[in-house]
Symmetry: C2
DNA sequence: CCGATATATGAATACTTGTTCATATCTACA
DNA sequence: TGTAGATATGAACAAGTATTCATATATCGG
């Protein structure tokens, strides 16, 4: 059994394992969530909320940004099920969707702190 | 002690905890690594390499891309210490820098598969 | 109901970045 | 040493997106 088209490397079999374990859609979903978290403005919001729910006013304060920018990012985080919101009087209170995201971010923090 | 400027929410103290625990630089580094992984083209390369080292030729095959695009992304991954490379004859063989990245990606995979 | 406060939204802009194309570099081998 | 194979690089282009500005919506107190 001769492969007529072969590089010097001998690891072709592992490619099939990779391709069967990771479907395009899975990879797209994985990349998508990381892309969303991979923006300082959004990352800050998530980390701030990890200490407890906050209204928009306090989020703006925490991340030292402005109301409009924060509101746009909150929308993106909410659409992607990273945070949820509820109304509390005149305020909208935001909080994390679940603990899973923070498990990931804690690992990332360890990683960057070596 | 009266704060003259206060929203209806009562969670201001947590903001300080967040700000002292996460410095700007830490957040920037965390976001940076997630941004890098948050691109399907790069994510695929990393996942493919998690099954073992590969030369560029095989990476191109694994991720179904082309030589130049892959080479550019390999550079970015290498510059950010996500992968390393060594020469093996005519080939350059790429492999993961350490296990840490895959720990993160495994968590992410769990997350998207619910 | 009205004004004030809190939040969301849409359009426009500016910036970042992934891909492509062409070409350069480097290694092995005849 | 010259040629072929393997990989890297640079410039140009296209596409995506974060921020800003202006404005809209919604809630509460009086």
């Amino acid at each position: 059994m001769e492969d007529t088209f072969e590089s010097a490397c001998k690891h072709g079999e592992n490619i099939k394992k990779f391709q069967s374990e990771y479907k395009e859609e899975t990879i797209a979903n994985m990349a998508n969530i990381l892309k969303i978290l991979g923006e300082p403005s959004r990352m800050k919001i998530v980390l701030a909320l990890s200490y407890g729910e906050l209204c928009v006013f306090h989020i703006v304060e925490a991340v030292k940004s402005n109301q409009s920018a924060v509101s746009h990012q909150l929308r993106i985080l909410k659409d992607n099920h990273i945070i949820k919101s509820r109304r509390d009087g005149q305020n909208i209170v935001y909080y994390l969707y679940d603990d899973h995201i923070m498990e990931i971010l804690n690992l990332v923090k360890e990683h960057v702190e070596e």
